[in-house]
Protein backbone atom coordinates (compact mmCIF):
# COMPACT_ATOMS: atom_id res chain seq x y z
CA UNK A 1 0.00 0.00 0.00
CA UNK A 2 1.21 3.51 -0.79
CA UNK A 3 1.30 6.05 2.02
CA UNK A 4 -1.17 8.86 1.54
CA UNK A 5 1.08 11.72 0.47
CA UNK A 6 -0.16 14.94 2.05
CA UNK A 7 3.19 16.67 2.45
CA UNK A 8 2.81 19.12 -0.43
CA UNK A 9 -0.90 19.73 0.12
CA UNK A 10 -0.47 20.62 3.81
CA UNK A 11 2.85 22.45 3.60
CA UNK A 12 1.34 25.93 3.83
CA UNK A 13 -0.94 25.16 6.77
CA UNK A 14 1.33 24.62 9.78
CA UNK A 15 -0.52 24.88 13.10
CA UNK A 16 -3.87 25.34 11.31
CA UNK A 17 -7.15 23.49 11.08
CA UNK A 18 -7.90 22.43 7.53
CA UNK A 19 -10.97 21.04 5.74
CA UNK A 20 -10.07 18.65 2.92
CA UNK A 21 -12.28 17.24 0.19
CA UNK A 22 -13.13 13.56 0.59
CA UNK A 23 -10.41 12.42 -1.82
CA UNK A 24 -7.84 14.58 0.04
CA UNK A 25 -6.66 16.31 -3.09
CA UNK A 26 -7.81 19.82 -2.23
CA UNK A 27 -7.91 22.14 0.78
CA UNK A 28 -11.45 23.51 0.95
CA UNK A 29 -10.84 25.83 3.90
CA UNK A 30 -8.36 26.60 6.64
CA UNK A 31 -8.44 28.55 9.86
CA UNK A 32 -8.11 28.49 13.62
CA UNK A 33 -11.46 26.95 14.57
CA UNK A 34 -13.36 23.90 13.37
CA UNK A 35 -16.66 25.81 13.24
CA UNK A 36 -15.17 28.47 10.93
CA UNK A 37 -13.66 26.02 8.48
CA UNK A 38 -16.86 23.94 8.36
CA UNK A 39 -18.78 27.08 7.33
CA UNK A 40 -16.13 28.04 4.74
CA UNK A 41 -15.93 24.49 3.37
CA UNK A 42 -19.71 24.33 2.93
CA UNK A 43 -19.48 27.33 0.58
CA UNK A 44 -16.80 25.57 -1.48
CA UNK A 45 -18.38 22.15 -1.77
CA UNK A 46 -21.52 20.20 -0.89
CA UNK A 47 -19.54 17.11 0.11
CA UNK A 48 -18.75 16.24 3.72
CA UNK A 49 -15.20 17.52 4.36
CA UNK A 50 -12.50 15.75 6.36
CA UNK A 51 -11.24 17.97 9.16
CA UNK A 52 -7.62 17.73 10.14
CA UNK A 53 -5.15 19.66 12.26
CA UNK A 54 -1.74 20.25 10.72
CA UNK A 55 0.77 19.78 13.52
CA UNK A 56 3.83 21.97 13.93
CA UNK A 57 6.66 21.10 11.58
CA UNK A 58 9.48 21.77 14.05
CA UNK A 59 8.61 19.03 16.52
CA UNK A 60 7.77 15.35 16.43
CA UNK A 61 4.77 13.97 18.29
CA UNK A 62 4.64 11.59 21.22
CA UNK A 63 1.14 10.58 22.32
Amino acid sequence: MQALKLTNLLKGYEDCWVALNSSRTKVLASGQTIKDILIKAKIQSSEQPIITYVSRFDSDYVG
Binding site: M1, A3, T7, Q48, T52, V54, D60, V62
Partner: protein
Protein backbone atom coordinates in the same frame (compact mmCIF):
# COMPACT_ATOMS: atom_id res chain seq x y z
CA UNK B 1 -10.43 -2.16 7.13
CA UNK B 2 -7.08 -1.01 5.87
CA UNK B 3 -5.95 2.60 6.03
CA UNK B 4 -2.75 4.04 4.57
CA UNK B 5 -0.23 5.76 6.79
CA UNK B 6 -0.29 9.49 6.08
CA UNK B 7 2.84 11.29 4.98
CA UNK B 8 2.80 14.79 6.44
CA UNK B 9 5.26 17.69 6.44
CA UNK B 10 7.96 18.27 9.04
CA UNK B 11 11.08 20.41 9.13
CA UNK B 12 14.49 18.78 8.88
CA UNK B 13 16.20 19.02 12.26
CA UNK B 14 19.60 18.54 13.81
CA UNK B 15 18.70 14.93 14.65
CA UNK B 16 17.00 14.21 11.30
CA UNK B 17 18.61 16.59 8.77
CA UNK B 18 17.32 14.70 5.72
CA UNK B 19 13.75 14.26 6.88
CA UNK B 20 11.14 16.66 5.52
CA UNK B 21 8.12 14.43 6.11
CA UNK B 22 6.76 12.06 8.74
CA UNK B 23 4.62 8.94 8.48
CA UNK B 24 1.69 8.93 10.89
CA UNK B 25 -0.99 6.37 11.76
CA UNK B 26 -3.85 8.79 11.29
CA UNK B 27 -7.24 7.56 10.05
CA UNK B 28 -10.53 9.34 9.35
CA UNK B 29 -13.36 8.84 11.85
CA UNK B 30 -16.82 10.35 11.93
CA UNK B 31 -17.79 11.72 15.33
CA UNK B 32 -21.55 11.67 15.85
CA UNK B 33 -23.67 13.34 18.51
CA UNK B 34 -27.46 13.57 18.22
CA UNK B 35 -28.13 14.57 14.62
CA UNK B 36 -24.71 16.05 13.86
CA UNK B 37 -21.72 14.26 12.36
CA UNK B 38 -18.23 15.56 11.58
CA UNK B 39 -15.46 13.58 9.92
CA UNK B 40 -12.07 14.24 11.45
CA UNK B 41 -8.61 12.70 11.28
CA UNK B 42 -7.47 10.93 14.44
CA UNK B 43 -4.21 9.31 15.46
CA UNK B 44 -4.46 5.61 16.30
CA UNK B 45 -2.43 5.78 19.51
CA UNK B 46 -1.84 2.68 21.60
CA UNK B 47 -0.17 4.89 24.23
CA UNK B 48 -3.32 6.89 24.90
CA UNK B 49 -5.65 5.66 27.64
CA UNK B 50 -8.74 7.23 26.10
CA UNK B 51 -10.18 8.68 22.92
CA UNK B 52 -9.64 12.43 23.07
CA UNK B 53 -10.88 15.17 20.76
CA UNK B 54 -10.56 18.95 20.81
CA UNK B 55 -13.20 20.81 22.79
CA UNK B 56 -14.06 22.88 19.72
CA UNK B 57 -15.16 19.70 17.93
CA UNK B 58 -17.61 19.09 20.76
CA UNK B 59 -18.88 22.65 20.40
CA UNK B 60 -19.33 22.18 16.64
CA UNK B 61 -21.37 19.05 17.44
CA UNK B 62 -23.54 21.05 19.88
CA UNK B 63 -22.24 19.08 22.88
CA UNK B 64 -22.29 21.04 26.13
CA UNK B 65 -18.64 20.09 26.68
CA UNK B 66 -18.15 21.76 30.09
CA UNK B 67 -21.02 19.75 31.61
CA UNK B 68 -19.22 16.41 31.18
CA UNK B 69 -17.33 14.72 34.05
CA UNK B 70 -13.69 15.78 34.08
CA UNK B 71 -10.50 13.77 33.91
CA UNK B 72 -6.90 14.95 34.11
CA UNK B 73 -4.64 13.68 31.35
CA UNK B 74 -0.87 13.82 31.24
CA UNK B 75 1.74 12.96 28.65
CA UNK B 76 5.42 13.24 27.97
CA UNK B 77 6.89 16.24 29.79
CA UNK B 78 4.30 15.96 32.54
CA UNK B 79 1.97 18.69 31.30
CA UNK B 80 -1.52 18.02 32.58
CA UNK B 81 -4.60 18.86 30.54
CA UNK B 82 -8.25 18.50 31.45
CA UNK B 83 -10.85 16.67 29.39
CA UNK B 84 -14.61 16.48 29.80
CA UNK B 85 -16.16 13.14 28.95
CA UNK B 86 -19.30 12.48 26.94
CA UNK B 87 -21.01 9.54 25.28
CA UNK B 88 -20.73 9.91 21.53
CA UNK B 89 -20.80 7.60 18.55
CA UNK B 90 -17.84 6.98 16.29
CA UNK B 91 -17.94 5.63 12.76
CA UNK B 92 -14.84 3.96 11.34
CA UNK B 93 -15.44 2.83 7.77
CA UNK B 94 -18.86 1.20 7.95
CA UNK B 95 -18.65 0.34 11.65
CA UNK B 96 -20.46 2.57 14.14
CA UNK B 97 -20.10 2.19 17.88
CA UNK B 98 -20.56 4.08 21.14
CA UNK B 99 -17.59 5.62 22.90
CA UNK B 100 -17.15 7.52 26.15
CA UNK B 101 -14.69 10.11 24.82
CA UNK B 102 -12.94 13.13 26.25
CA UNK B 103 -13.05 16.66 24.86
CA UNK B 104 -10.38 19.14 25.86
CA UNK B 105 -10.02 22.86 25.30
CA UNK B 106 -6.32 22.57 26.10
CA UNK B 107 -3.97 22.23 23.15
CA UNK B 108 -3.54 18.57 22.24
CA UNK B 109 -1.50 19.21 19.09
CA UNK B 110 -3.48 16.81 16.94
CA UNK B 111 -7.04 16.50 15.56
CA UNK B 112 -7.94 13.54 17.72
CA UNK B 113 -6.64 10.47 19.51
CA UNK B 114 -8.04 6.95 19.32
CA UNK B 115 -6.84 5.29 22.51
CA UNK B 116 -7.16 2.07 24.48
CA UNK B 117 -10.55 2.70 26.12
CA UNK B 118 -13.19 2.97 23.43
CA UNK B 119 -11.06 2.15 20.40
CA UNK B 120 -8.57 -0.62 21.12
CA UNK B 121 -11.16 -2.48 23.17
CA UNK B 122 -13.46 -2.44 20.12
CA UNK B 123 -10.88 -3.19 17.43
CA UNK B 124 -7.86 -5.37 16.81
CA UNK B 125 -5.19 -3.09 15.38
CA UNK B 126 -2.16 -3.97 13.28
CA UNK B 127 0.40 -1.26 12.60
CA UNK B 128 2.37 -2.30 9.51
CA UNK B 129 4.65 0.64 8.93
CA UNK B 130 6.78 -1.02 6.27
CA UNK B 131 3.61 -1.76 4.29
CA UNK B 132 2.34 1.77 5.06
CA UNK B 133 -0.90 0.43 6.46
CA UNK B 134 -2.98 0.42 9.63
CA UNK B 135 -5.41 -2.49 9.75
CA UNK B 136 -8.37 -2.29 12.10
CA UNK B 137 -10.75 -5.20 12.63
CA UNK B 138 -13.90 -4.93 14.71
CA UNK B 139 -13.99 -7.33 17.64
CA UNK B 140 -17.17 -9.39 17.79
CA UNK B 141 -18.91 -9.96 21.13
CA UNK B 142 -17.68 -13.58 21.10
CA UNK B 143 -14.07 -12.47 20.49
CA UNK B 144 -14.36 -10.00 23.38
CA UNK B 145 -15.69 -12.76 25.64
CA UNK B 146 -12.93 -15.17 24.63
CA UNK B 147 -10.32 -12.47 25.29
CA UNK B 148 -11.79 -11.88 28.75
CA UNK B 149 -11.68 -15.63 29.42
CA UNK B 150 -8.03 -15.71 28.35
CA UNK B 151 -8.48 -17.92 25.28
Amino acid sequence: MKFPYQERPRDPSEAFPNSSSRLVSIIPVTVISSDKAITIDALVDSGADNCIFPGMLGVALDIDVHKGPKQKISGLGGRIIEARFHNIRLRVGSVEFEVYAGFSFDTIGISGLLGQRGFFDNFRVIFDRTANSVIVKKRTSIQKLLTLLGS
